[in-house]
């Protein structure tokens, strides 16, 4: 039967050669190489659950009065969009499960991309010839952050509405063109026209997923064309020779198993752990707010940056050159993404290494890269933690203002310390390995020269 199917397909598409190559494509066998797949499977879960949700969501901001089953909102004014999400959560069977699975998938998707980025960065997999693959990946990350933000803002609840107001303020804070850009996107000053939600909706369910799909396809095609990098686990792996497990039969059940496993974890979270209970936050109004409002985790680095800035609008006479939110909300992420995009070029400049690389480094094999990467990571992580200072105050009693001052000093000092420590650790680990290697070589020599008996070891 397989023979009949393969013959049918090859006669009509001519793809048997491609199929043969694909079936025997070699995957280097290391667990860290599966992180990209985890991200891919999260994306698939997002598309499937998102399609389902789109069949029930209404993107209208028309004012309605709620008469559904949730008592605390009885008789309250809200938008149709918010009500449709309430109905998905309360009226549609399995609606809440799929909504929560979708939201958990979004959060884990970004985490998986980030873990995958860490693996690519700290093993030098972005080096020639894979820079384009890497840039495609960083672009996917950037676009995904926006996609998630738009997604949870579609619900029009109090928390995400406050987040949209802040996003609008960051847009406005861009020098020279901010207000014009904001007016363009929102259709005027915040909260904008009724069409704004339609724009968010189309961007979230069509434009950006299509963009991500295209970038992702290009990313995967490039990975396949140039083949994966690999760790040097034995003398067999070299810059010219790849050692790995073929797609079929070896890799297929593993990948399928990982896909079902990731989907299973996301569905378990979606059913067992509540996320974004919008009925508890209430509908958004520009004149209402709540304490403790936070964006989803992958934007937490920005709220930290916004809170750390001291009170300062940079003005030139009466012209406001740089409003305050620009530094934390726009410039800070631009610096981080610029670092990510420019790093392959920067590393080439700093090390003078222009060669092709198919072998992945262990982090300790590239102390400069590991140190710089760890330093930048520490910088971003500290700013991220600053964003939760109010909760730390509530739980641990450490004064909020004290924490702000601590972070303002720490973000300019601790990253350098962290980079130095990382550098020293890499160098020491490498030195230790060299000593061990020399001892082993000497032992072998001693045994060959019969200075030691075969079962003896040196002191």
């Amino acid at each position: 039967m397989i023979r009949k199917l393969v013959r049918f397909l090859d006669q009509r598409t001519g793809t048997a050669p491609i199929a043969r190559k694909t079936l025997r494509y070699l995957f280097p066998d290391h667990w860290s190489f599966l992180l990209g797949e985890v991200a891919l499977y999260c994306f698939i879960v997002l598309v499937v659950t998102g399609t389902y949700l789109a069949l029930f969501y209404t993107d209208s901001t028309a004012d309605v009065v709620y008469h559904g089953s949730y008592v605390p909102l009885q008789g309250q004014h809200m938008t149709e969009a918010y009500r449709s999400v309430l109905d998905i959560s309360f009226k549609v069977k399995a609606g809440l499960l799929i909504r929560q699975t979708h939201h958990w998938a979004a959060d884990v998707f970004v985490a998986a991309i980030f873990l995958h980025l860490l693996r690519i960065f700290f093993t030098g997999a972005y080096r020639k010839p894979r820079e384009v693959t890497y840039w495609l990946g960083v672009t996917i990350l950037t676009v995904t952050l926006l996609e998630g933000y738009l997604g949870y803002s579609l619900a029009d609840d109090l928390l995400s509405g406050m987040g949209l107001a802040i996003g609008n303020a960051v847009a406005l804070s861009i020098p020279f063109v901010g207000a014009n850009l904001g007016a363009l996107i929102w259709g005027g000053p915040f909260p904008g026209t009724h069409a704004f939600f339609a724009r968010m909706y189309i961007a979230h369910v069509f434009l950006i997923p299509a963009l991500i799909a295209v970038l992702l396809t290009a990313h995967l095609v490039l990975v396949a064309l140039k083949h994966h990098t690999q760790f040097k686990k034995s003398p067999r792996e070299t810059e010219r020779k790849i050692v790995g497990v073929p797609t079929f039969p070896g890799q297929t059940p593993r990948s399928l198993g990982l896909m079902l496993g990731v989907a299973g974890i996301l569905v378990l979270l979606g059913g067992l752990v509540q996320i974004n209970p919008i009925w508890e936050w209430g509908p958004f109004h520009t004149y209402v707010s709540t304490n403790g409002a936070q964006p989803d985790w992958y934007l937490g680095w920005l709220i930290g940056a916004l809170r750390l800035m001291p009170s300062w609008d940079w003005t030139v006479g009466d012209y406001t050159l740089v409003p305050n939110p620009f530094w934390g909300g726009a410039l800070f992420p631009m610096i981080v993404f610029a670092f990510l995009y420019l790093w392959p070029w920067l590393e080439r400049k700093l090390t003078g290494d222009h060669a092709f690389h198919n072998l992945a480094d262990r982090p300790r094999d590239a102390p400069l890269r590991t140190a710089v990467g760890f330093g930048v990571f520490t910088w971003v992580m500290l700013i991220f933690m600053a964003g939760a200072s109010d909760r730390v105050f509530v739980f641990l009693g450490i004064g909020y203002q004290t924490q702000i001052w601590f972070y303002r000093v720490a973000i300019f000092t601790l990253p350098f310390l962290a980079a130095y420590v990382a550098y020293r650790v890499c160098v020491e680990l490498e030195a230790g390995e060299r000593v061990e290697h020399d001892v082993e070589a000497a032992t072998r020599e001693a045994k060959t020269e019969r200075l030691l008996r075969p079962e003896e070891e040196p002191l």
Partner: protein, 255 residues
Amino acid sequence: MSRLLLVTVLALALAGGAGAQGPAGDAKRGSELYGRYCYACHGPNGEGRTHVTIGAAPLRTQAQQKGMGPSLQGVGALAADFYLETGYMPLPKIGIQPRRSRVVLTSGEIASLTAYVASLGKGPPVPTPHPSRGNLALGFHSFSDHCAGCHQIVAEGGYVTGALPPALEDASAVQIAEAVRIGPFVMPRFSEQAISNHELDSIIAYVQYAKHPDDRGGWALGHLGPVPEGLVTWFVGAAACLGFCVVIGQRLRKS
């Protein structure tokens, strides 16, 4: 028989006239307790001590200085009951925010002290809210308007510059009614004109609901929103996926 009836009626009338919840307060016993716990900061007749004297400063413990506290004349049984039942008072250090703490007085002592403070001037009695008569939707709406900015939308507490609006999970209906009418520390004071008794009943109904809100989505993570959700994303979601990867893939053997 009729004499017994008369005595009973008189006793009940006296007890009702005291105006306190629970056991009737003895104002005379209250004045002794006042002398022990309150005199140093609030003055001999509850007029308060606001003048700075030698050795007095914020955050220095009471044993070392003359205390400082606002006037209690006219605050009524409402305020005394609130501060004593919650353990806000006695305050361990001058100038810090009063917080819910272990109550050192028995309920009889609290009643007596409340009666004494009430006698210091004409003030409001201990309120008798009826949250069951309130409207939950109105309560949610009012709470969002007046309270959520400081106390968070599901009353999990929060931060305001210089103070800690507490979570309200331990607040009783009477305590909520009292706090709203007092405005302790830096909380605004909402009079009956601003928030009617019916609206207050509704707000209390909502706060009581918020202690166990509708969490049909699963484990609620403390109702704090994206921060604990992010922790679960990393320590459960990403960790589990990472676990799958480690089980499926190979580890790096020493070369």
